[in-house]
């Protein structure tokens, strides 16, 4: 799929300034349309997202809303120190990574498998109906989802304990046990989002060249083999992109759902960076502390993404940039 046409960047490094300039002019004469198409996006990003980025400074300031960013004094890395030197921060960081990694291992493949499974369904109406249903929880507010989860796992009325009862087991008060928090939280997340997340992969699958399947059928391949040898490899670029982005979100772990589901008794496994910061900054809006935390998250996430991106670029054709 790589293009060897002469329209790409020239390989020869040693050229005079004049030659380079001529080349550049020719390039723009030829390719101006692409730049025109790019312009609205770039302008939009500059005006709406990059222009306000001076606000990131507040992570290093003692920010007063009244005085404004410019009028607030610098305090260097004090906010970061407040965060990082806290004992419980280490635990929050550990929990964030644990939940993220588990979520990645168990949660990331589910939408992919869902999409693949949908692809194998032949019954038209069933497929369309099921597809429409599975994304519904995405539209239901997290508060309701949390309420359903709490009820489902309740020792007295919950369905989970009812089922345990059929097998003769004692009811378990799941939501106060630290060892159960992660599975319940990740499971709830999958339940809420897997359906909607599978749409990306459905679209990718729909874009696969059907003639590939036709030739495989002629060669006598089974559906199972076709799934592994044709479908999956064809959507690999999409999977890689989604994976890199997901790695970039490693430190963001569904704050709202955790707040609704966690208890002091489960803080040991449930308290993550964002919930820790939330409790820290309850008094008033501590924008500066929140900005510092956001920056901390962002830098780490970005380093992770850069690594993942470089690896992806080296070993495949797909990368974020």
């Amino acid at each position: 799929m790589s293009d060897l046409s002469e329209n790409i960047l020239p390989a020869a490094p040693k050229r005079t300034l004049g030659q380079r300039f001529t080349w550049l002019v020719d390039h723009f004469k030829r390719e101006w349309q692409i730049y025109v198409m790019l312009l609205p996006v770039i302008i939009w990003f500059v005006v709406f997202l990059y222009k306000p980025m001076y606000g990131l400074q507040v992570a290093f300031k003692d920010y007063s809303i009244f005085r404004g960013v410019a009028g607030s004094p610098w305090i260097g890395f004090e906010h970061f120190q407040t965060l990082i030197y806290s004992d419980q921060f280490g635990r929050a960081l550990k929990n964030t990574f644990m939940i993220s990694m588990l979520s990645l291992c168990f949660g990331f493949p589910v939408p992919i498998f869902l999409a693949l499974m949908f692809n194998e369904i032949t019954h038209h109406v069933f497929k369309r109906t099921a597809q429409t249903i599975v994304y519904l929880p995405h539209f239901i507010s997290t508060v309701i989802i949390a309420g359903i989860v709490i009820t489902a796992f309740s020792p007295s009325a919950g369905i989970v304990n009812m089922v345990l009862g059929w097998f003769g087991m004692e009811p378990i008060y799941f939501l106060i046990k630290p060892e159960w928090f992660r599975p319940i939280f990740i499971g709830s997340g999958i339940w809420q989002e897997a359906g909607f997340s599978s749409i990306v992969f459905l679209a990718a699958i729909a874009g696969v060249n059907p003639s590939l399947y036709e030739s495989a059928v002629i060669d006598g391949a089974s559906r199972w083999q076709m799934m592994w040898k044709i479908t999956l490899p064809s959507i690999l670029p999409t999977i890689i992109i989604m994976l890199i982005i997901r790695i970039g979100n490693l430190l963001e772990v569904g704050f709202e759902l955790i707040i609704l589901l966690y208890q002091p008794a489960t803080f040991a496994t449930a308290d993550v960076i964002n919930t820790f910061i939330y409790r820290q900054g309850i008094q008033g809006a501590q924008y500066d502390l929140a900005a510092a935390a956001g920056l901390f998250n962002a830098v780490i996430a970005f380093i992770l993404v850069m690594t993942a991106n470089t690896i992806a670029r080296r070993y495949s054709n797909t990368s974020l940039w």
Partner: protein, 512 residues
């Protein structure tokens, strides 16, 4: 408006503008003055069309124009922050929980200090604070200045102990008078099937918010919180302390664990949430709780048909092991809500006089009851709501639309509330009044920068640690064995430093 004599101005204005000015003893200015106002609450924001605003305008000559930020967000914090950030601060700023904002940004120059203004131009407010100096101290900033006039609630009581009289009758026992008898009553509720369905499904003690279970530590001499916020510090003879580090707490948690193990406390109290009261009462499973007078009293009329004989009554706090009866929870007498004068105000003197209007008898009545003749009538010198008004819907919601009971700086009048309070709540209040069970309340401190630093650095984590241990001890026991370690850890985490910081702020604020 053209310049002329006072009388001429009054006549002219009467004929040229509507509404006409009354020009009476409450009049503040000769010529009408207008201020912009930001007043934000999740349920309403300042509306210039409010009848009460119109009346105030007629009486005083000052007109407030609504200029509230964030009218579409229910989060007042957000609305206040946006207002500040915009740089376009209206002349008067008020609403929900403005205290932290005005006390932080007042010293930076955003709001006008009110102390001198009150002393010179606001006689009614001055009289009030002379009578209750601690209330003024409670809301002052760390630089000693008062930056807002608070909303001052008038009701005393918040939550009470409620118990099922019908269940007491079913098990043949009387209202428990002390903690030991309470234990026996709850045990009887659990074992003797007072709801009569043959199942051991009774939940003797439940709560909508699980920290209410912690109130029980008061029965063993402990404390759960000194203010109407959970897990807060408390004041004991001028000394700052925290309930979760006291001996009574130790004894209390030990016993709460025992009660929990024996099924006397709702096994799911931590996760049941706000539906607890509704569910457990209407399913005839709940026996006792600690909850708000007003809203809980509504269950008697509501469930009387569904559960024959249903009778939920207020009981006096059972005596602790040392014989004391206390009601730990009470309404905070000075709220973090109210209104302030911002630095953009062109005429702070008029503004403070306007604030003062609501502390006059007429202004106070308007802020509480609405408009005479429309919403209430004076009967024997007391404002009594009209019957149609009370029956048209929830009284508070209606009053918000009139401009009464909104979070300006004013002194509430409990007389407005008692008129539509449920009879069982009224009875309960009288019961508590008779016994005088209320104790000193911690009204908060205003930190200077150094103290704030100590607090910010340590407290959140200390609190987290306390809550984790607390829940673990209630669920699984072990407080006796771990207590010394716990206290040592608290010290290591800087707990005593936090206490010192608070004490120093407290002494400075309330005059040692």
């Amino acid at each position: 408006m053209r310049k002329s004599t006072i009388l001429a101005a009054a006549l002219l204005s009467t004929s040229m503008t509507a509404p006409a000015f009354a020009g009476g003893h409450l009049r503040i200015v000769d010529e009408p003055v207008e201020f912009t106002v930001h007043l934000h609450n999740k349920r309403y924001h300042y509306d210039s069309n409010w009848p009460v605003e119109q009346k105030a305008r007629q009486d005083t000559g000052v007109h407030l124009i609504g200029a509230t930020f964030g009218t579409n967000t229910p989060s007042s914090q957000e609305a206040h922050n946006l207002m500040l950030a915009s740089g376009d601060i209206p002349h008067i700023v008020g609403g929900d929980k403005i205290k932290d904002m005005v006390n932080e940004y007042g010293p930076q120059g955003a709001f006008v200090p009110l102390n001198d203004l009150i002393a010179e131009h606001a006689p009614n407010i001055k009289a009030f604070f002379d009578k209750y100096p601690e209330k003024m101290a409670a809301v002052s900033s760390f630089d000693g200045n008062l930056y807002y006039i608070p909303y001052l609630p008038d009701g005393k009581y918040g939550r009470a102990y409620w118990m099922r009289r019908d269940w007491l009758d079913a098990v043949g026992m009387d209202v428990p008078s002390d903690v030991n008898e309470l234990y026996e009553v709850l045990t009887a509720f659990r074992n003797q099937d007072p709801n009569g369905n043959g199942l051991k499904d009774e939940v003797p003690f439940f709560a909508r918010q699980w920290p209410e279970v912690l109130r029980l530590v008061t029965l063993w001499g402990g404390r759960s919180s000194g203010s109407d916020t959970y897990h807060d510090f408390l004041i004991d003879n001028g000394r700052i302390a925290h309930g979760y580090a006291g001996e009574g707490y130790r004894e209390g948690i030990k016993n709460i664990h025992k009660w929990y193990e024996e099924g006397l406390i709702d096994a799911e109290v931590f996760t049941r949430g706000s539906s607890a009261r509704e569910f457990l009462l209407s399913e005839n499973l709940g026996g006792m709780t600690h909850d708000w007078f007003a809203s809980t009293s509504g269950y008697n009329p509501k469930l009387k048909d569904k559960i024959p004989g249903f009778a939920l009554e207020v009981i006096v706090p059972p005596a602790s092991i040392s014989g004391k009866r206390i009601a730990e929870h009470r309404r905070i007498p000075v709220k973090p809500d109210g209104w302030a004068i911002s630095h953009t105000n062109p005429d702070p003197v008029t503004a403070i006089k306007y604030f003062d209007y609501y502390f006059t008898e007429e202004g106070r009545r308007a802020a509480n009851f609405g408009i005479e003749g429309t919403h209430y009538d004076m009967v024997d010198g007391k404002p009594i709501f009209k019957k149609e008004f009370m029956e048209a819907g929830p009284v508070n919601s209606q009053l918000y639309q009139v401009g009464s009971q909104v979070q300006r700086g004013y002194f509430q009048d409990f007389g407005y509330e008692i008129q539509w309070t449920n009879p069982s709540a009224v009875k309960g209040i009288e019961l508590y009044d008779a016994g005088d069970y209320l104790i000193d309340q911690f009204l908060g401190v205003a930190f200077n920068e150094e103290e704030q630093g100590v607090y910010d650095k340590n407290w959140s984590q200390i609190r987290t640690y306390m809550l984790e241990k607390q829940q673990a001890w209630i669920l699984g026991g072990g407080i006796e064995a771990e207590w010394d370690d716990y206290m040592a850890t608290l010290d290591k985490m800087g707990f005593n430093d936090v206490l010192s910081a608070m004490q120093s702020a407290y002494d400075r604020q309330y005059g040692g």
